[in-house]
Amino acid sequence: MIDTVLLTLILFLPALGAAMLALPFFDSDEKSKHWMLINTIATFGLTLLLLGDFLELTNEQGFVPPLSERALATADGQNAPNDLVVRVPWISSSAFNIEYYLGVDGISLSLIVLTGLISVLGAAASFSVKKFTRGYCILFLLLETGMMGVFLSLDFFLFYIFWEVMLLPMYFLIGIWGGPRREYAAIKFFLYTLFGGVLMLIAMLGFYFNSDPNTFDIIRLQQIGQTTGPDAPFSPFFQRVMFVLLFIGFAIKLPAVPFHTWLPDAHVEAPTPISMILAGVLLKMGGYGLIRIAYPICPDGAYFFAVPVAVIGVVSIIYGAFAAMAQQDFKKLVAYSSVSHMGYVTLGIAVLPILSPVYYTWGMAGAMFQMIAHGISSAGMFFLVGVIYERAHHRDLNRFGGLMNIMPVYGALSIVIFFAGMGLPGLCGFPGEIFTVLAGFKFGAAFGIIAAFGVILTAGYILWTVQRVYLGSNKQYEGTPDITTWETLTVLPLVFLSILLGVYPDLLLGWMAPDVEVLVRDLTDYGRSLTDVVTAAK
C-alpha cells in the first residue's frame, strides 16, 4: 500500500468509523460497540502494517534513513514513493504554508502502535458502557483520530489542530460517562489542557513569524532552531522564551509536578477505558511534544533550562510516589504513580548537557522506553482497577483484601502488571527507569541518586497496595466472580508486552533507538557548538 494512503487511512479510519456510526444501521448498542472494536482493530492492523513498511525502509547500512532526510527528500506537493512521509499543501493560499504533512520515524511509530493497541483494548474494555453507547463510540473513535493525528503530524499547525481535536471528545467522555464528580474533573482537564494548548499556540505563532519563509514545518523549524551563530533566525533569548511556553504546555500533559493535579481527578472520574487511554496514550503526548518539538526546535532553551527541568522530573518522581503512598482510592493511587513514572520521562529528556551523545541517548531512549512501558503498565493497572470496581463498586483500598484467593487469575495478572509498574527487571518498567536514572547521574549525581530513591517509594506503595488488595483473606468478597474471558483477553496483550519488553527491550529499541540517536546527536552537536562559542569567548 502506498504510504500516502496508509498514513491517511490510519489517521482517518477511526473518524470515518465515527461518521458511519451516525448511519441508521447502528441502531443497537451492540452493533455500535462491535463496530467500534472492529474499527480500532483495523486501525491497529494498519499501524502494524506501517511498522512493517517502516522496517522495510532499512538501507544497506542497516538503518532506516532519518525522518528529516526523508521529509526533505519529499518535495512539496509531490511524494517520494513509500518513504512514509506525506506532504500535500493544504492551506497554502496567501502564503500560509500550512501543509497536510504526515510522517513517521521510530519515535512516533512506537507511540502510534501503542495508540493503536491501547485503543483496541480500550474499545474492548468499553463493552460495559451502558449510557448513550452510540455517542460514546463516536467520541471514542474521534479521540483515536486525534491521538493518531498528534503523533503523525509533522506540520505544527496540523499538530496543534489534532491536539485540540483530541481534547473535546475527552472532555465529553469524562464529563458524561464519568464518576460522581465528573463535571469538575472534565472541566479541570479541559482547562488545564487548553491552557497548555494556548501556550503552545503562542509558541507556534512565534516560530511561524520568526522563520523565513514563514513555515509550520516541524522538520524545517528544527533545522532553523538548531542553527547556531549570530545570524540564527531564532535567537537564544527567543528560544528560551519559546521553550518555557512549550515546556509548560507539554508538562501539563505529561504531567510534571506543579501541573499535575488534573490527572488524579480525571482518572478517578473517567470510566475505565478512558482512564486507559488517558494514561496509556494521552500522557505520552506531553513527552512526545517535548521530544519532537520543544527540544529540537529550542535547543538553546533546553540547555538553559536543563537543571530546572531535571529538578521538575526528580520532584515529580518523589512527589508522585509519596502522594501515591497516602492515597486510599485505588485509582488515585495509580494516577499518582503515573505522575511518578512520568517524572522519569522528564528527567531522561532533561539531561542533555551531558554533551555526549552516547550518554544522552540513555536518557532519551530511557524516556521513550519509559513512555511506552508506562503506556502498557498503567493502562493495564487502570483496567484492572476497573475490573474490581465493577465487582465491588468502590475503590477504597482499605476495604479490599484477599482477592488473590477469590480471583486467582485476576490476582496473577494484576501482580504482573503492578510489578511492571514497579520497575522490576524482566518487566517493561525497568529499562526505562534505569536508563533515565543512569543518565541522570551522569548529568548530576544528586539527580540520579534522588531519582533512585524513588525506587524504594515505588516498591513501598505498590507492595502495600498489593498487600491490601490481593493478599490476606477476606470474607466480604467471597464468591466474587473471577475475571471473565473477555476481560482476560483485554489485559493479556498488556501482560504479554510487559514481559516481552522487559525481557528483551531491544525489540523496541531496535527500531526506536536509531532515531533517538539521530535526535540526540543533533542536540549534542548544537550543545557543543554552544560550548565552542563559550570557550572561544573565554
Binding site: 538503518f63 493535579t261 552516547v358 541517548t361 540513555w362 527487571p425 534505569i434 551522569k442 516498591a459 507492595l463
Partner: protein, 755 residues
C-alpha cells in the same frame, strides 16, 4: 562450552514458564517438572564443573603450593571483550578461542588465573553498531588528543548486554546452588505435600533457581542487578507464600523494601560505574589477573570509586542481611522452611557475599574498611540475638546473619578465599540445618523450641543429621565449618598483626565463634534432648518421610565434606585450593600483600583459637541446656537489661518504625495534603477567582456596557416620554411654538450674523 551453563540456567526458566502457563493442568506435576529441571541443571553443572576442572591440570594441584607468584600468567579471559553478536554461535566461537588459549597457558606454574569463558548478547542497544569515533578511539587511544578534549570524546556504553562468564567461582557457585536446590526441591515435595498452592510453590522455586543461576553466571554488573531484583522478587513471593497471614505478607513487603533500599545503593554503584567507566562488564572493569583495569581507574577519582564500592556493598548489605538492613531476614522465616533453607540461608543471601567477592578489585581501602566494620558488627549483633531466640527458625536466621557477617568481614580484610570458602560450606550446613528444622516443624507442628525437647527418639535421622550441621557450624575439627572458620580466623589474625588499630573489630569473630557454638548447641539440646516440655507436641511428633530425610542425609554428607578432605591428605584439590585458584590479585596486593601467605602460617594458631572458642561455647551449652547445671532463666534475671535488648533484637524494628516508616508515611500524607489543599487549592482558588472575576465582569457588562446601551435607549424613550408632554394637542400652543421658533431662529441668526 559455556553453553552448558547457559542451558543449565535456562532450564529452570523454561520449567517456570511451563508451570505458570500450564499450572492449572499440571497441578502436582509441577513439582516433577521443577525438580527435574533443577536436577538437569545440577547434572549439567556437574558436567561443567568436571570439565572445567579437568581440562586444566593446574586446578587439580594439591594445596600447599600456595607460593605467591610475582609473575602472573595471563589467563584465557584476557581478551575479555563484550561480544555483541546476536546469537549463541559467535559466543561459542569465542569459547573455542578460550579453550585454545587455555591449553596454551597450560604451563605448570602452579595456580594461574582462572579460565574464563564469556559470551553475551545485546539486551538493549542504544547506539546501533559501534560508533565510528569511539571505535577509532578504542583502537587508538593515542588519537584522543587529536580528536578533541577529553570530556567531549564520544564514549560510553552504547549497548547493555546480557551474557555469561564462567570462571572457577562461577562454576563452584553454580554447582553449589544446583546441588542444594535439587536437594531442597526433593525435600519440598515431601514438606509441601499438604499445601494448597503446591504447584505454584514449585513454579516460584523454578523462577528463583533461574534468577539465582543467571546472577551467578552473569558477566556484568547490570545483569547482576537485574537478577538481584529477580531473586528478591522470588524471595518476596515465597516469604509471602502464606499470604493469608498478615504477618507473612508484611514480612514479604519488609524483605522486598529493605532489599530495595540496598538496591538503591547498588544503583548508585551502577551509576558511578556507568558514568566513570562507561561499562558494566566485569572483563572490562577488571584485568584478567583480578585488578581494577588501570585505564579505567585512571578516569575515576578515589572518591567516586569509594562511592561505587560502598554503593555496591550497600546492595550486598540489603541482600545479605547485614547490619543495618538485616531486619528482614528473621521475618522472612514466615516463608515455608525449604524456602528459608534455599533462599534465605544457602543461596540468595549469599549472593551479596558473592558480589563482594566478584567486585573485590573495585573496592578501595576505605570501602573495604566499611565492609569490615559492617560485617563485624553484624556477626556479633546477630549472634547475640540468636542466643535468646526461641523460634527455631529465627534462631537459625540470626545464625545465618551472623555467618554472613563473618564472610563479609573477612572479605573486607582481604580474606577472599576464606570468605568464599565459608560461603560454600555455610550454604551446605545452613541448608541442612534449616531442612532439619523444617523436618522438626513438619513432625511437631510447632516452631517454638520451648515446646519441644526429647525429640531425639521420635526423629533420630533428623536429629543426627542436624547434629552434623551443628558441629559444622560450630567449627568442630574435621568438619567443613572447621576449615572455613579456621581460614577466617587465620585471616583475621594475619590482618590484626599488620593493622593493630582495628583490633576491636577483630576480636568479634573469635567471641562470636564461641557464641555460635553455644546457641547452636542450645538449639539442638532444646529440641532433641531432655524431657519433652509439651506433651501434645511430643506425642504428635513423628519422623519425616524419605522424601525429606534422604536429602537431609545427602546434605549432611555434603556439609561434612564440603571443604574437601584435606585431613585425608589425598591428592585431590580441597575447596580452599580450588577457590584460591581464582583469587584476584587485588586480594593479595597493596595493603593485603603477603596476607594470604601469612594467614597460611597462622593456620595452626587459628585452628586452636577457633576450636577453643567453639569448645567453650559447647561446654556452656551442655552445662545449661543438657545437664541443667545452670538455669537460663536465672541468667535472664541476672541481666534483665541485656536480655531485654536481645529479646527485642536491639530494637532495630522499633527504631526503623519510628525513624523511617512512620515519617515516610507521614510525609506521604503531607504530600497528599499539599496536593489536595495547596496545589489544588490554589487552582480551585484561582478558578474561584476567575469565576468571581467573571461575575464582576458580568456585572460590569450588565451595569456599564449594557447599561450604556440601555441608557441610550431609555434616554431616547424618556426624551420621547417627556417630549410627549410637548405634544399637548393644544393647537394654539403649537402655533405659538412655531412662532416662537421663528423668532428664536431669526434672533439666533441675528446674534450669529456678522457682516
Amino acid at each position: 562450552m559455556g553453553l552448558i551453563w547457559v542451558i543449565a540456567t535456562l532450564v529452570p526458566l523454561a520449567a517456570f514458564v511451563v508451570q505458570i502457563l500450564f499450572g492449572s493442568v499440571l497441578k502436582r506435576a509441577n513439582a516433577y517438572i521443577a525438580t527435574g529441571a533443577i536436577g538437569f541443571s545440577f547434572f549439567l553443572s556437574t558436567m561443567g564443573m568436571l570439565w572445567y576442572a579437568s581440562f586444566k591440570p593446574g586446578v587439580l594441584s594439591p594445596p600447599g603450593h600456595h607460593a605467591h607468584h610475582e609473575e602472573v600468567v595471563e589467563g584465557a579471559g584476557a581478551a575479555g571483550h563484550a561480544d555483541h553478536s546476536h546469537d549463541g554461535e559467535a559466543g561459542e566461537a569465542t569459547d573455542h578461542g578460550h579453550e585454545d588459549a587455555g591449553h596454551d597457558s597450560e604451563a605448570d606454574h602452579g595456580p594461574v588465573n582462572p579460565v574464563a569463558f564469556e559470551g553475551s548478547i545485546s539486551w538493549a542497544t542504544l547506539i546501533r553498531g559501534e560508533d565510528t569515533l569511539s571505535k577509532v578511539l578504542r583502537e587508538n587511544p593515542a588519537l584522543g588528543d587529536l580528536i578533541g578534549p577529553e570530556d567531549l570524546r564520544e564514549e560510553g556504553p552504547g549497548v547493555v548486554s546480557v551474557g555469561y562468564r564462567i570462571d572457577n567461582i562461577t562454576a563452584l557457585m553454580f554447582f553449589m546452588v544446583t546441588l542444594i536446590a535439587t536437594c531442597i526441591h526433593v525435600y519440598s515435595m515431601g514438606y509441601m505435600d499438604h499445601e494448597p498452592r503446591y504447584g505454584r510453590f514449585f513454579a516460584y522455586l523454578s523462577l528463583f533457581c533461574f534468577s539465582m543461576l543467571a546472577l551467578v553466571v552473569s558477566n556484568n554488573f547490570f545483569q547482576v542487578f537485574m537478577c538481584w531484583e529477580l531473586v528478591g522478587l522470588c524471595s518476596y513471593f515465597l516469604i509471602g507464600f502464606y499470604y493469608e497471614k498478615k504477618s507473612a505478607s508484611c514480612a514479604a513487603n519488609k524483605a522486598f523494601i529493605t532489599n530495595r533500599i540496598g538496591d538503591v545503593g547498588f544503583i548508585v554503584g551502577l551509576m558511578v560505574l556507568f558514568s566513570t567507566f562507561g561499562t558494566f562488564s566485569f572483563s572490562e572493569i577488571f584485568t584478567p589477573e583480578g585488578m581494577l583495569n588501570p585505564e579505567l581507574a585512571a578516569k575515576a577519582d578515589t572518591f567516586w570509586l569509594t562511592v561505587a564500592g560502598i554503593g555496591i556493598f550497600v546492595g550486598c548489605v540489603g541482600k545479605s542481611a547485614q547490619f543495618p538492613l538485616h531486619v528482614w531476614l528473621p521475618d522472612a522465616m514466615e516463608g515455608p522452611t525449604p524456602v528459608s533453607a534455599l533462599i534465605h540461608a544457602a543461596t540468595m543471601v549469599a549472593a551479596g557475599v558473592y558480589l563482594i567477592a566478584r567486585s573485590f578489585p573495585l573496592f578501595t581501602p576505605e570501602a573495604l574498611l566499611v565492609i569490615t566494620y559492617i560485617g563485624g558488627i553484624t556477626l556479633f549483633v546477630a549472634a547475640t540475638i540468636a542466643i535468646v531466640a526461641t523460634d527455631i527458625k529465627k534462631a537459625l536466621a540470626y545464625s545465618t546473619v551472623s555467618q554472613l557477617g563473618y564472610m563479609v568481614m573477612v572479605l573486607g580484610i582481604g580474606g577472599w578465599i576464606a570468605g568464599l570458602m565459608h560461603l560454600i560450606t555455610h550454604a551446605f550446613f545452613k541448608a541442612l540445618l534449616f531442612l532439619c528444622s523444617g523436618s522438626v516443624i513438619h513432625g511437631t507442628g510447632t516452631q517454638e523450641m520451648p515446646q519441644m525437647g526429647g525429640l531425639y527418639k521420635k526423629m533420630p535421622k533428623t536429629a543426627l543429621t542436624m547434629l552434623v550441621g551443628v558441629l559444622c557450624i560450630s567449627g568442630f575439627p574435621l568438619t567443613s565449618g572447621f576449615y572455613s572458620k579456621d581460614a577466617i580466623i587465620a585471616q583475621v589474625l594475619a590482618y590484626g598483626e599488620s593493622n593493630p588499630e582495628h583490633t576491636f573489630i577483630l576480636l568479634l569473630p573469635g567471641i562470636s565463634a564461641g557464641i555460635t557454638a553455644f546457641y547452636m548447641f542450645r538449639l539442638w539440646f532444646m529440641t532433641f534432648v531432655g524431657t519433652p516440655r509439651d506433651k501434645h507436641v511430643h506425642d504428635h511428633a513423628h519422623e519425616s518421610g524419605d522424601l525429606m530425610t534422604v536429602p537431609l542425609v545427602i546434605l549432611a554428607c555434603c556439609a561434612f565434606l564440603a571443604a574437601g578432605v584435606p585431613w585425608l591428605g589425598l591428592p585431590i584439590p580441597s575447596l580452599e585450593s580450588f577457590i584460591g585458584f581464582g583469587q584476584p590479585a587485588a586480594a593479595d596486593s597493596g595493603q593485603f600483600a603477603g596476607l594470604t601467605a601469612r594467614a597460611h602460617e597462622l593456620h595452626g594458631v587459628a585452628s586452636v583459637v577457633a576450636s577453643g572458642c567453639a569448645l567453650l561455647g559447647t561446654v556452656l551449652a551442655v552445662a545449661i541446656y543438657w545437664k541443667g547445671y545452670l538455669s537460663p532463666s536465672e541468667a535472664q534475671r541476672q541481666f534483665p537489661r541485656v536480655y531485654d535488648l536481645l529479646i527485642n533484637k536491639w530494637y532495630f524494628d522499633e527504631i526503623y518504625r519510628y525513624l523511617a516508616v512512620r515519617p515516610a508515611m507521614a510525609f506521604g500524607r503531607m504530600v497528599a495534603w499539599f496536593d489536595k489543599n495547596v496545589i489544588d487549592g490554589a487552582l480551585d482558588g484561582s478558578a474561584d477567582l476567575t469565576v468571581r472575576g467573571s461575575n464582576f465582569e458580568g456585572r460590569f457588562d450588565l451595569g456599564i456596557v449594557d447599561g450604556m446601551v440601555n441608557w441610550i435607549g431609555s434616554t431616547f424613550f424618556e426624551t420621547g416620554v417627556s417630549l410627549k408632554r410637548v405634544q399637548t394637542g393644544w393647537l394654539r400652543g403649537y402655533v405659538v411654538t412655531i412662532a416662537l421658533g421663528a423668532v428664536a431662529l431669526v434672533a439666533l441668526g441675528a446674534f450669529l450674523y456678522t457682516p
